[in-house]
């Protein structure tokens, strides 16, 4: 089994990409790797739609006066930006693309436990996506992605029900992905692949799946209630009819706060893999990193009301939720400290995936620490609904989740496509993304602290300099995102054929061919080594003796 070969392989060897051709072989595939690529294409499409809305928002905010779009249009822009990015890009991004591709391979399985359910989840995503597109093209929604009641149920005239149903359908796609992962990780591991030998990417996806399974149904029923209330004028959330708008906020955030961890946990898994590989070291404190993922998933369910400190909940509830929100910082910090400790005395290589991983650690730390500001009751009252909040969660979702996604895409691209991407372009892009990101969002911390509210399409003169900086940063960031798309597409045709294990990385996915065959492995792997055995992998190079295994 020890075939850590670095020799060139002929590209024409049969693999999952060239086994069959034609649109139908893709649309009816049950191969988890092909479904991952279907997801990759669809979420990239929605990423650029969401990015287009962001571009218009930043252009409007270039000047203090509201001069580019109408106020109502602006409301729709930030709403659709949020809905598309959260539900159609960030939540499916790493699990549905990298997770789909890698979970079976990393544990030595031929496929996910339910391949047809996996395909169904992609179709549900597409149906939800088409509904969302239709909704956008015929008027959109203007409530903000949170669609708070009673504005959403009794006042606005925009397409709440259609957008809600789109999210409802896409939510079931997310549930099915999570369900598939949990069953696969429990039941499909190769002989010898014990829980303590699983790559930490798998632990992160396991924790993510738990949130998807337990959280998403709650947003589903909430959407049903909003739709029923809006169409039949029932009074469940409408205070005029005796209902409670706070109940809506509780139900909404019961899912939507853990949903943040659906976005960030897989990214943490990716970063763990990258850091171990490019520091050439075993991860420091494996079990702490593994269980911190589970802890984040569990604590994540107990902090939702920190979104409601100014909404009129009792001060005692607020105290408890504030305290619990601090608790999430503990497992998050465990991860950051363990990554840093792994780097200590590592043999560090500055390849593009590692640059993204470094970016992730820094930006996630800033995002996480400002999250503690917001968990503190007094400061939260001051900065609620300001750009401080916007900057905070973009540091987590874009600086964290998206950096991890891009890093992972670079790291596994040779395995996915069988081609190498151009390394120097990739390093340049990573740098541009990092600089552009900070230029876009750091000024927003200051803007928020100075009191600029979110969701307004005009602002006082004195905020202009910082807003111009932010818009300039967004332009840089946009270039940083376009570059990888261009050179990834380029590399599919012109890139050098990738060896099976270009990074000399540990992990079962690198022990099969690039790209893998349909059933991933020529013969069923039997695992006899611990995860991240980089000391063993590098041993022959250091000492000139063959590996004992």
């Amino acid at each position: 089994m020890s075939m850590a070969t670095t020799t060139m392989q002929p590209v024409e060897r049969e693999n999952y990409l060239n086994k069959e051709y034609g649109a139908l072989s893709w649309l009816f595939t049950t191969d988890h790797k092909r479904i991952a690529l279907l997801y990759l294409m669809s979420i990239t499409f929605f990423f650029f739609i969401g990015g287009f809305f962001a571009l218009l928002i930043r252009l409007e905010l270039l000047t203090p006066a509201g001069d580019l779009v109408q106020p109502d249009t602006y409301n729709k822009l930030f709403t659709m930006h949020g809905m598309v990015m959260v539900f159609f890009f960030l939540i499916p991004s790493i699990p549905a693309v990298l997770g789909n591709f890698l979970v079976p391979m990393m544990i030595g399985a031929k496929d996910l436990a339910f391949p047809r359910v996996n395909l169904l989840s992609w179709y549900l995503y597409i149906i939800g996506g088409l509904m969302m597109l239709h909704c956008m093209l015929t008027g959109g929604v203007d409530t903000g992605w949170t669609f708070y009641t009673p504005f959403s149920t009794a006042f606005t005239n925009t397409k709440i029900v259609e957008a809600g149903l789109a999210i409802f359908v896409a939510g079931f796609s997310s549930i099915l992905t999570g369900l598939n992962f949990v069953v696969t990780i429990h039941r499909m591991r190769a002989p010898g692949m014990t829980w303590s030998r699983l790559p930490l990417f798998i632990w992160a996806h396991y924790a993510t799946s738990i949130i998807q399974i337990l959280g998403t149904p709650v947003i589903a029923i909430t959407i049903v209630l909003v739709a029923v209330e809006r169409t039949l004028h029932l009074g469940i959330f409408d205070p005029k009819l005796g209902g409670d708008p706070l109940l809506f906020q509780h139900l909404f955030w019961f899912y939507s706060h853990p949903a943040v961890y659906i976005m960030i946990l897989p990214s943490m898994g990716v970063v763990t893999e990258i850091i171990a590989c490019f520091a050439r070291k075993r991860i420091f404190g494996y079990s702490f990193v593994a269980f911190s993922s589970i802890a984040i998933a569990v604590f994540g369910f107990l902090v939702w009301a920190h979104h409601m400190f100014v909404a009129g909940i009792s001060i005692y509830a607020a105290l408890v939720f504030s305290l619990l929100s601090y608790a999430v910082a503990v497992p998050s910090a465990v991860k950051v400290f363990n990554w840093t400790a792994t780097l200590y005395k590592g043999s560090i290589h500055y390849d593009a995936p590692m640059l993204y991983a470094f970016g992730f650690i820094g930006l996630f730390t800033v995002g996480g620490l400002t999250g503690l500001f917001l968990a503190a009751l007094g400061i939260d009252v001051h900065v609620t609904d300001t750009y401080f909040v916007i900057a905070h969660f973009h540091y987590i979702m874009v600086g964290g989740a998206l950096m991890g996604y891009l890093g992972g895409l670079h790291f596994w691209w040779p395995k996915i496509s069988g081609r190498l991407y151009p390394e120097s372009w990739a390093r340049l892009a990573a740098l541009i993304v990092f600089l552009g990101f900070n230029l876009t969002f750091f000024p927003q911390f200051i803007l928020g602290y100075l009191g600029m509210p979110r969701r307004y399409f005009q602002y006082p003169q004195e905020f202009q300099v910082l807003n111009v900086l932010s818009t300039a940063g967004a332009t840089v960031l946009g270039v940083g995102y376009l570059l990888p798309m261009i050179y990834f597409l380029w590399s599919m045709r012109y890139g050098k054929p990738a060896p099976d294990n270009p990074w000399n990385a540990a992990g079962l996915e690198w022990k099969t061919t690039s790209p893998p065959t349909t059933f991933n492995f020529e013969e069923e792997p039997i695992v006899t080594w611990e995860a991240y055995n980089y000391d063993e992998l590098d041993a022959p190079r250091k000492e000139g003796v063959p590996i004992a295994r």
């Binding site: 369900l179 069953v183 591991r189 002989p191 399974i213 029923i221 909430t222 469940i236 009819l241």
Partner: protein, 236 residues
């Protein structure tokens, strides 16, 4: 799962026609399917959980109004339906046993009776909805719940707006439950078709098992709905 000392499994030896290519053996396939269904039921618990949460809050806020509204529902019909569903759970268990022990006619009979009981439940539910419709208890423009005394406080009338919240929850909760019954009936029609074609054997009857799990779950939801919606404030 398996120890590192174990050698690889040779799954070429036995190849049941229902064994999918990516599973090592039938046991792994059965375990996966069953775990998948249990997790799905977990998502269903959370789905209904949001509604139960809403119910509990409003029941506490509008205590008397909920009592008055609950009393207007026909508890006898609800009790009958409870009995019908408990009987259907028995026939589902019989179907699983029949599949395990290769009793084909018992299997088909149990499935048919289960479906008949399910249809009975939906029929009785329809009668109940009709009663509510006739009494103008369906939330909406023609809703009326005037001058209904609060149980225990004969001098106080229930607030119609608050009673309307009870009926909204009543229709949403029982409606979603009925929708799950209808999906279950569809599922069982497919199981019946497969059983009639003789596809289930003692080695392969996973669909009967996980279909049964689903049916039991829908029954259990009703076991909670019945006392919460029908039996509050029934004491003399």
């Amino acid at each position: 799962m398996l120890d590192s000392t174990l050698v690889g499994l040779h799954h070429e030896e036995e190849h049941h026609p229902e064994l999918l290519h990516h599973f090592a053996d039938a046991q792994q396939q059965r375990d996966s399917a069953s775990l998948g269904m249990w997790i799905f039921l977990g998502t269903e618990v959370m789905f209904f959980g949001g509604l139960f949460c809403a119910y509990l809050i409003y029941r506490r806020w509008y205590f008397g109004d909920f009592g008055a509204a609950s009393k207007s529902i026909n508890a006898a019909l609800g009790a009958t339906n409870t009995a019908v569903l408990i009987c259907s759970s028995l026939t589902v268990v019989l179907a699983v046993w029949a599949a395990q022990t290769a009793r084909r006619s018992l299997l088909i009979g149990s499935l048919v009776i289960t479906m008949l009981l399910g249809l009975t439940f939906l029929g009785i539910k329809g009668v109940e909805y009709k009663e509510k419709f006739d009494e103008h208890h369906v939330p909406g423009a023609s809703f009326s719940f005037d001058h209904v005394p609060i149980p225990g406080h004969p001098d106080q009338y229930a607030n119609p707006r608050h009673a309307q919240i009870f009926f909204s929850l009543y229709f949403i909760m029982t409606g979603l439950h009925a929708l799950h019954m209808i999906i279950g009936l569809g599922l069982f029609a497919w199981l019946l078709f497969m059983a009639w074609k003789g596809r289930f054997t003692p080695e392969y009857h996973t669909p009967i098992e996980i279909g049964g799990l689903y049916w039991h779950f829908v029954d259990i939801v009703w076991i909670y709905l019945f006392p919460l919606l029908y039996l509050i404030d029934r004491h003399p």
